[in-house]
Subunit: 274 residues, 4 copies
């Protein structure tokens, strides 16, 4: 290995520590700066969409967008450059998000709608957890995700059932209401959409039944949705409780999941009271 | 038994394996083809109801509907023909659904509204579970249904209570609001409907109180509904948790419910971590 | 005791068995007839309020109302007459409901609004449980009520907190939105009402924020309400689960609460699987 | 210490017992009177905001406001005077609330909007717990708060995820719907606001999708929100159940948390059935 290559490798490594790590002061500062830039870029995109700003503001926002895209493009290049295994980074979740964060401006030169891809940058904000060392929080998110994952198959079975139910309810309501003048139940898709809006208790009110029979069916659907809302909640709760209990039984901290010696009053890893 | 009869029986049996079974390659292919046809038929029915399509599209959809009905009628006949005990099939749940799936077009020649019975075909989509061997999922659905069944009696008692409550609240709100000009509380059914819409937190907004007293009662109803929403959720959750725990206690897998030897780390029937 | 008095007493007793009891065939028939009359009376009251019926229908409904009131008045008199301790009946819950069920027509001669008191008759429908011997259901209702009762104090503390929160949120939103032209936030009561409508996820849409700041606060309130909705549900669920577990631990059936010998697979009182 | 100083100290102490304590008859009376004044002041503020009152009523309300502010100012001064450690009181939660309760009228002479700060007085109503000796209730509130606090970190992680999700969904819906004439999706903030309104099942209906694709995404968001609503509920429930169980295991009353001897059937501190 030549001295020049070694020097380059070190500089890569120190760059890597700053950009990918968050243990050094420089690394922390870099991460916080990056977060601020991401946040600004999201705000710029949101602001740009509002019809209020005058010509001057619009020009400033466009310039800002150009600058931010330049920063992100540069950063993406440096990340690839300094990573020991560039391919691992490029095909990781954050690698793809970072790439997509740079594209919108380039794409918007070809496709007009592509401009809104800037909002993918919002995903980069999840890096906030790493910076503030919220590992415990992330760990809790993992228990949650596990509970959700374990519940997913049940919830999917349940959703298919709901979808079929909603199709049939929508059809019946359509048959009842479609004749009425000024009715919102103009076709089957609208009626199925209404059934979903009603059953999930969202209730926009853009499509509402007006006949007595339609309202009676509607009331039934609401009370049904009311009972049905209980099902996924129950599943996730049950799995979450079981997950927590299993940890305690196996002599682990219910919060961070790490092994804890018996007799300890607080988890030595996350200060959870046992 | 004559040789001809025996040959016919074998052909029936192989047809049975293809149509009712899903273990052979032919059986799987048949099931997937059928699912696609069912799905297309539902989409056709939904599309037909929209006012947008021109004459050409409408003609195509009508022809498609004729073809699909022909396929379903033929399939129903073959199913009866090849089933060893045709009566068992005809009076089974899927037998009735299959029959009803063929009828709409014939009925629509007599009754105009009957056309929408095609949506019953949506039930046939539940066959998807069988094809993709989602037995575990179905099994989970069974625990869920058991939890719901065990909770049903409690939920029914509770619903009767809610119905009486809603009737009385609707009446009181009607007495308060009906005098107001432009009020939606024109009669008792509307007011009871409003009470249900409010209590289930759907809140369409087609009927809303405008007087101060009406709004105060309305706020009370919302907060009440808020507390009441807790009841069925609690019941189903509790039953679900107990159901799962009972299985674990009896040395069974909490997911698929099958007997598991002690010391196993994963259920040998569904790979559930124990 | 004279023979005449004794005879009268027996006749009272047999009447008591018919009217108050539901064990004899006559008692059951009486109860079902009464339920039908109550149900008809509620339907008549609801129908009367609708603007559609012509003069003939209205006359019929009025006559029906007179007949039903006469039946209820007579029944109330007979109930007092045949009860061994009339005072116990008169001041019982159902005694008061029965009395109030007879009054509306008489009161409506003096007060116009009093007519709608007929809806109190809806409470009489709860007798349905007694007739169909749904003791187990009632028993489950009792566990539920106990869970609710045990949770009540916590829910009350919680509601006071919500009330104060809602007052403050409503005020802040009022300060933000009231200046806007065409805003629904015309005064503080409206704004507090809006806060309740939003927080309970009812969301009528009769009052909605239009300014950016108003919408941001509004979004915060929704997400808050979202988290807050978890609280009473959690409390009732937890109490319900504990209540059920306590029963099992004490060697009682989790459903009907009666003592069950160890080793039994089904509760001998309500057929609950143990 | 001089005799004069001691006398003053006693008079301070007796004032302290009346104003801060609620054990003596005088203390109780004082607290109830204060509560009534606070309640009146909140009602006055709400009433003042309504456009209905005539000039006479307005004058009376203004005078009442002056009187109440005078009472609160005086009371604040006396509280500081009679507290043994005035600084402790001034910087306590209730000290700040008491100060803010006196300011609105003075501030409204300078700033017009400041008038609505009177609603902070609503916080003073929480003193009601102390007066009616609802220590048990407060204690239950504490378990609840502990459950919430323990759940907070998880809920925060979850909220960040929801926020990012809502931003992306709002953007996609904006791209789909913004072209439609008369669409409510005029800019990104409106669309994100719509996503929150939909996902929390509030569903005002001020902004609703009209295109088929928009409605399909909308339906997905609702069902998603439906599943997501399960998460915080499950967390709080689980923590609450664990909190209660931990107490029972440690030989404590599940309600008030105090140590209870084994064999007791009722908690000697709060009469909870064990």
């Amino acid at each position: 290995m030549s001295a020049g290559r070694r020097r380059r490798w070190y500089s890569q490594k120190s760059l890597y520590n700053i950009i990918f790590g968050s243990d050094t002061t420089a690394g922390k500062r870099y991460d916080i700066t990056l977060l601020i830039v991401i946040f600004i870029s999201v705000i710029v995109a949101i602001w740009e969409s509002t019809p209020r700003p005058g010509q001057t503001v619009k020009t400033i926002l466009t310039i800002l967008e150009y600058i931010i895209t330049f920063i992100f493009t540069l950063e993406y290049a440096v990340r690839i450059y300094c990573h020991p295994k560039p391919k691992d980074y490029i095909f990781s979740f954050f690698g793809i998000v970072d790439l997509l964060s740079t594209l919108p401006l380039y794409l918007s030169l070809i496709l007009p709608g592509a401009h809104y891809l800037v909002m993918i940058r919002a995903f980069r904000l999840t890096r906030v957890f790493r910076i503030f060392r919220m590992f415990t929080y992330v760990n809790e998110g993992i228990i949650l995700l596990q509970s959700l994952k374990r519940s997913l198959s049940k919830i999917l079975v349940y959703l298919l059932f709901v979808l079929i139910l909603v199709t049939i309810i929508g059809t019946v309501e359509y048959v009842i209401e479609s004749g009425e003048p000024g009715s919102g139940f103009t076709d089957l898709p609208s009626s199925i959409y209404w059934a979903i809006v009603t059953m999930t208790t969202v209730g926009y009110g853009d499509i509402t039944p007006v006949t007595t029979f339609g309202r009676m069916l509607s009331a039934l659907v609401m009370v049904l949705g009311y009972t049905i809302i209980a099902v996924p909640t129950g599943i996730v709760s049950a799995n979450y409780i079981n997950e927590t209990r299993k940890r305690v039984k196996n002599g682990r901290c219910p919060r961070c999941g790490k092994k804890v010696e018996e007799g300890f009053k607080y988890c030595p890893h996350c200060a959870e009271k046992l």
